[in-house]
Structure formats: structure tokens, C-alpha cells
Amino acid sequence: MKVLTFGWEFPPSKNGGLGVACYGLTRELLEAGVEVVFVLPRSQKTLGNAKFLFAEFGELVSVRHTDITLEPYLQSDSKVEVFVGYTPDGRPMYVSRSILEEVHRFAHQASIIAKQEQFDVIHAHDWTSYLAGVAAKKASGKPLILHVHATSFDQAGGMNVDPAVYRIETEAFAFADQVVTVSGYTKNMIIEHHHVPETKVSVVHNGCDTHEPPRLQPTLAELKAQGRKIVLYHGRISIQKGVDYFVKAARRVVDADPTVVFVISGWGDMLQQVIEQVGAMRLSEHVRFAGALWEEERDRMYQSVDLVVMPSVSEPFGLVPLEAMLHGTPSLISKQSGVSEVLTHVLKVDFWDTEEMANQILASLRYPVMRSQLVKEGKQQLAGLSWRSAAEKIKAIYQRLLQYAT
């Protein structure tokens, strides 16, 4: 069985959950005997590293590149600089294009690739690849699976949904043979908003890697030395992520216990607004902005804090609590997240209920036995949330779609 996969990013790209999910699924599909051709838009970062990551499966995976450079998480009318070639005197030449143009170019390339490659089924990840998937299906007649990692409704926090993205989603879903969502939360969303028939949607929760990470040198040592408790937000700073609710809860927490420190790690279009909010709420002494942390720096932060909060307004899945747990730190997560469907040993709150969010933050800091149990029992649960079992479900969907194929 051979699958032609379209994706947007691939580790070690730093754009978040999508690439991690594509990597985890691809790795385990290969293990399960599925041949994978992974098509990515051209990107230097992805180009070199993707080959490196697949070195061990070199004979099975070939990474194809189109000539598109895209950043995810952008609105369709965002402009991106695209490298198109060299001037006669050897300087690189860039053209500014909208993401929508890029999505269509990706689709055009997909249709050519689909005619060249031999494969049984098409699998496209995230909205930016949907049109590519549709084009490949039109070119080849092979069954199409669209994998929903997020929707236009998540990105916008429910407001000002991008009509162009929504249209692509709706039309592509209608064209797909099967739609896979990363949670029941997202499944309900596309049934409600995109009118996809329930029978056409399967939930395959994301997995996570469960290797025990190395203990790193702690960070924020001077705060720890003062015996202060540290609460972390880590992620993109955008409406979807609910950082403003986190700041409101912080005010309530600090009123009750001024020794608590809040760290905001991340980058995004709402950063300025959040900084201003922190000032306006007179929280400057209690909130620290750590910038965007990646890799070891991020892991050190996870390991050094007492609690991680994921206050998302709308989160299709949510990797942060899994990563935090792996690093030995418990989480408080919003109920408006897909990951809350699979995690028992986290604290859960409605994102808008900042009073209860503050209560749970304070309680978790007061009662260390609860924090340690959340991690201890949570890690046992993580063991059951593997990419392997996610890939098994995906493989079963391929098989179901192919059962009558000749």
C-alpha cells in the first residue's frame, strides 16, 4: 500500500503541532508497512532536515518538494515573500504573493506529481494542503483523505472567520472520501460549521512521544531560590490561544498570593496587546515574557515551572499538556480542547471562567501532592497515547477506502 501525502511542515521546523503530527504518523505508518511519499512545499529548513529525519527509511520515503514557500497559521490574504529565482547578476529574486495564491500553486504542482507517481490513496494534512489533495484526486482518481488539524473557526477564536479558508475547507471536505479530525471537538465543529455528514468523519487523536527526556539545568533559578511558584503559558500568542484569559486569571491569583510568578513564552500577532494588558492590569512585576522558546530552552522551562496553563479558546488538539507532563510538570487546560478528551490527569476549566482558572492555579500550588499525582498517573496514561495506535487507525481507514479498489 502506497500513500501520496501532502503536508505543510515537517520537523524540525518550529511551527508547532502540525509538523510533529505529520512526522509521528509518517514514522509509524512506515513501521506498519505503508509506503509514504511525502510532498512538502519547498523550504530550505524542511528540505535538509526532512531527509535527515528519514535517513533510516530512505528506501521507502522520498520527500518531494514543490516550489512554494509558505508559513502556516496565516490568514489567506497575508502576503508572503516567495523566492522565484536569480537576477542576471546573481541576486535572489522574491515575489510577494498571498497565501491563497500559494495554496493554488501547491495544488497545481500536486496534480503534476499525482500523474507521475504510483500510489493507492491520497492523504492531505491541514487546510493549506486540501486543494493539493483535491487536485491529486482529480488527476489520479484515487481516494482522498483530508486530515483536519485545525479549522478556520479555531484560528479566529470563533470570530472573523476567513471566508476564503472556510470556502476551501467546505469544498474540499465535500470532495473528500473521508475526513479525519484530531479530536471529537473538531469533528463536532466541522459537522456543525461545514455540514460534513457525521459518517464521513473519523476521529484519530494525535499521539505523543513518551521517551523520558533528560533532566536539564533549571532556569529561573533566582525565582525558585526565593521560594516563588511559577506558572507557565507556552504557545502562540493569538486570539485562539486565550492568553488574555490567562492574564486575567493571573490578576486574581496575584491578589490572593503575590509570590506567584507568571511566564509567557511564545510569539504571535497578539503579543503587543497582551503586553499592554499586563501593564494595564498592573501585573508587570508578576508576568515575565520569555520570548519564543524552542527545543532545549523550552524543555528547561517546562521542567523548571510548577504548573503549565493552556487556556485555549478553541484548540483542535493541544500538544502543550503532553509535552509538559513528559517533562514532569502538570497542566491546567481549557475544556475547549481536543486533548482534554484523552487526558484524565490534568486540571480542566472553561477558558472564560477566569475565576475558576485562578482557583485551580492556586489550589495546585497549595497542594503539591496533587501536582505530583497529576504527573505520576498522567505519565502512565501517556503510554497509551502513542503515534503507533494513531497510525493503526489511519491504516485501517486506508484499507477501508481501498477494499473495493481494483
Binding site: 482557583n359 489550589a363 498517573e377
Partner: protein
């Protein structure tokens, strides 16, 4: 001769409301939720009264009136009796009418449905006494057979019951301790010489309590005739079939639409249909039969889960932390001699609070295996610990106040002494008085320090 000894356990806890960290030090009321959720104790009692207590008591009363041989046992927690009195006095009255027939026995229990025996013997004894007094004043009877919270049992509990004059004690008839032997006989607890243990026939008990309405079960739908046949089948290999279950099995755990009420209505008649079969209360049972062997239970045995131990209540770290913190408060709270503080502390000992914090099997996603009014075990723990933290503050305040009071008593004494006395007293007698007062202050201060 084969007799059936049913016992129905009646209990409702005082559930802790969503008590937040901000409430600590500001709100002395932990159990007064007035929302539409299942944390609203009044609402729950009113609901269960309507679904279970009232219709079941009507049926039981009819059965007692119709069948002179029909007998059964009830056990009540003090917390449910208090809530009946406050929220559903007619239910309490209907129970009193059942007991007044003389064919319904009440069992001894802890007042607060607590696990005190395993954490504090003095507190356990105080609760058993309080429970006895309450039963005597409400029903005019004195319990003679003991059952402990969640049917928890151990050799030393049986010994305690024997030493305190009980004729019998109830326990789970568990294969691990019975081996090849039948639960349908009386046994002698290991280390005891006179008390008898009545063992729950868990197969027949759970057919009603857990499986009755389960359409997946091979025995569904269970008819009273069939069930009576299963009981009758023990003729020849047993003397007493002990059916122990939650009273709320009737109408609450098993809803009316399962046919549970019709089943109950028909049961005595079908059991009595075979001539040498009858019903006995617990006391009649222990007085009628001799023990046939020893029941040796060195570790705690309960009626819960397939583990039959206390892990549903104190199996994980937060449960152990919460219950340990609760009993650590004992010395201080008792020293306040403040009945309101002591009563609040006891309400927090009710085993249900710890049950709501259970995480057994939650890794398998089987969260519904445990009923809880909270959204998660951690919500339950947070509400409980916050309330307990407030109680700790109140106890500390009361203790501090006692010290201040005593100190001011001491300072006031010379004036009082001078006012009341016309003749100059001997120096020795003044010294003696002051010594006593200082000793009392010392004791109280040392309690404050140790807390």
C-alpha cells in the same frame, strides 16, 4: 431450614460544594451548595426520596403487613438521618413506621459513615456511640449487630465488636478468605470467642444491586420466581443467605423502569413459597445458628470493586493525603470542645469524599466506573482540601482564642479574688490557684505550638 437475611444500607453524605481557594477564611459553610448540580445536598435528598425512599418504604410496609414472616435489616448513617430530618421528615417517619413493626432490625454503624476505625480508634468509638444514641432516640431500639462503613472489616474490628458486646458483625463473603467454603453459614472471626460474622452472598446480592437492569447480563430480565429459585438452590448447602446492598438500589441505582419495584413486591411471596424457607433479622440469624468455621481477615476487606479493599477510598496519593490531613486535625479540633467545629470535621470524614477522588481505572477511560458529583477526582480533591484548610484556620483561631481567654482569666483573677474575699487569704492558696491557671495556659499554648 434456610433463612434469608436482607440488609439495606441507607446513606447520603454531605457533599462539599465547589469551595474555592478564595473562600478559605471567608466562608464557614462547606455543604450548602444551592445550584442545580449534584452537589446540592437538599436537592439530592429530595430527588432520591421521590425516586427511592418513599416508593420503596411503601412497598416494604405493605410486605410487612402482608407477610408476617417477612423480616429485614436497615443500617443508616447519621448523616442521612440528619438530612431526612432537615429535608424530608416524612421519609424519616416512614422508616420509623417500618421499625415499629418489630420485624425490622437496625444495625450499628459509625455516625459519619467514616473509615475512622482504620485511622483513629477513639474517634471511631465516639462516632459509634453517637450513632447508637441517635438510633435509640429516633427508633427506640439498640443495635446489637455491627456493620462498618463500606462493609469494611478486619479481624481487629470483629474483636472490638466482641469486646463491646455486639452479637454479630457483617462482612463480605470473599473467596480469598472463604476458599472453598460457602458464605451461607456463620463463621467465627479469627481471634474471637463469641461473636459471629454474617457473610454477604455477593453473587445473589449483586444480581439485584448491580446487574438487575443490565440488558447485557445473561440473567436479564430477572424475575422474582427465578431469583427465589436461586435462593432455594442453597437448601442443603447453607443456613442463611445474606443479601447486603445499598437501599438506594431500589429506584435510584436501578430505576423504576427496570421493574425493580415489581421485583421487590413479589420477592417475599416467592421466597416463602417453599415451606422450609423464611426470613430472619441479623440478631435472629446469629442466635439461630452456630458457627461452622473461622473467618480470618488480617487485611482490610470491603464490598467494593473486584479488589474488595480500600483502594477506591485511599488508593492514590491525593486520597491518602486528604484523609491523613483530616485525621491530623483530631487533637486540635477535639481540644476546642466546640461542637460545631467538631461536627464539621466529622462531616469531612465521610468516606464518600475520598471516593470522589478515586482515579482507579481512569487510565482506561472508564471514568464512569465511579459515580461522583464532581467533574473530576481533582475537582473533588480541591474542593475538599480548600474546605479542610478553612476548618484548620477556624480550629487554630479557636485554640488561640482559648489561650487568650485563659490568659485574661489569669490576669483578672487577683481582682476577682480581692473582690470576693474580705479576709486576706493565705499566700499558699493564692499560689495554688495561680499554678492551676498557669498549667492550663501551658497546655493550651503547647497545643497551639504543636499545630
Amino acid at each position: 431450614m434456610l433463612t434469608v437475611c436482607p440488609y439495606f444500607h441507607v446513606h447520603q453524605p454531605y457533599r462539599v460544594k465547589r469551595y474555592r481557594v478564595f473562600d478559605i477564611g471567608n466562608d464557614e459553610h462547606y455543604f450548602n451548595d444551592d445550584s442545580q448540580t449534584d452537589l446540592n445536598n437538599r436537592k439530592i435528598v429530595e430527588k432520591v426520596a421521590e425516586k427511592s425512599y418513599r416508593p420503596t418504604n411503601r412497598i416494604l410496609k405493605d410486605l410487612l403487613d402482608t407477610h408476617p414472616e417477612f423480616r429485614f435489616n436497615l443500617s443508616f448513617s447519621g448523616t442521612v438521618l440528619d438530612q431526612f430530618e432537615a429535608y424530608a421528615p416524612d421519609v424519616l417517619q416512614s422508616f420509623q413506621e417500618l421499625v415499629a413493626t418489630g420485624r425490622v432490625e437496625i444495625l450499628a454503624d459509625t455516625y459519619h459513615h467514616s473509615l475512622a476505625f482504620f485511622y483513629s480508634l477513639p474517634e471511631f468509638e465516639r462516632q459509634v456511640n453517637k450513632h447508637r444514641e441517635r438510633i435509640e432516640s429516633l427508633f427506640g431500639v439498640t443495635p446489637r449487630v455491627f456493620r462498618n462503613t463500606e462493609l469494611s472489616y478486619r479481624n481487629d474490628l470483629a474483636k472490638w465488636c466482641e469486646d463491646n458486646g455486639y452479637l454479630g458483625i457483617m462482612a463480605e463473603g470473599w473467596d480469598k478468605y472463604l476458599g472453598w467454603r460457602s458464605p451461607n453459614f456463620l463463621y467465627r472471626p479469627a481471634g474471637c470467642s463469641s461473636i459471629k460474622v454474617l457473610l454477604k452472598n455477593y453473587k445473589l446480592s449483586d444480581d439485584i444491586a448491580f446487574r438487575f437492569g443490565n440488558r447485557e447480563w445473561a440473567g436479564w430480565p430477572l424475575q422474582a420466581d427465578t431469583y427465589a429459585n436461586w435462593i432455594h438452590a442453597h437448601h442443603g448447602d447453607g443456613q442463611t443467605v445474606n443479601l447486603f446492598m445499598d437501599y438506594e438500589s431500589f429506584g435510584e441505582h436501578q430505576w423504576e423502569d427496570t421493574g425493580i419495584f415489581n421485583f421487590l413486591r413479589a420477592l417475599p411471596e416467592t421466597v416463602l413459597r417453599r415451606k422450609d424457607t423464611s426470613f430472619k433479622t441479623a440478631t435472629e440469624t446469629v442466635q439461630s445458628y452456630d458457627v461452622i468455621g473461622e473467618y480470618d481477615v488480617p487485611d482490610v476487606l470491603t464490598w467494593a470493586d473486584t479488589d474488595r479493599d480500600l483502594t477506591a477510598w485511599v488508593g492514590n496519593d491525593i486520597q491518602q493525603d486528604a484523609i491523613a490531613a483530616t485525621y491530623r486535625l483530631e487533637t486540635d479540633v477535639m481540644a476546642t470542645e466546640d461542637m460545631q467545629l467538631i461536627e464539621t470535621w466529622r462531616k469531612l470524614q465521610t468516606s464518600d469524599h475520598f471516593y470522589y477522588m478515586c482515579t482507579k481505572w481512569s487510565n482506561d477511560g472508564d471514568v464512569h466506573a465511579y459515580f461522583s458529583p464532581y467533574q473530576s477526582p481533582y475537582d473533588a480533591y480541591i474542593a475538599f482540601m480548600n474546605a479542610l484548610s478553612d476548618l484548620q484556620l477556624r480550629v487554630k483561631k479557636a485554640t488561640d482564642a482559648t489561650v487568650v481567654e485563659t490568659v485574661s482569666e489569669v490576669t483578672a483573677t487577683p481582682a476577682a479574688v480581692l473582690n470576693g474575699i474580705r479576709v486576706l487569704p493565705e499566700e499558699d492558696s493564692i499560689l495554688e490557684l495561680l499554678k492551676k491557671l498557669f498549667a492550663s495556659v501551658r497546655r493550651k499554648i503547647s497545643r497551639v505550638i504543636s499545630s
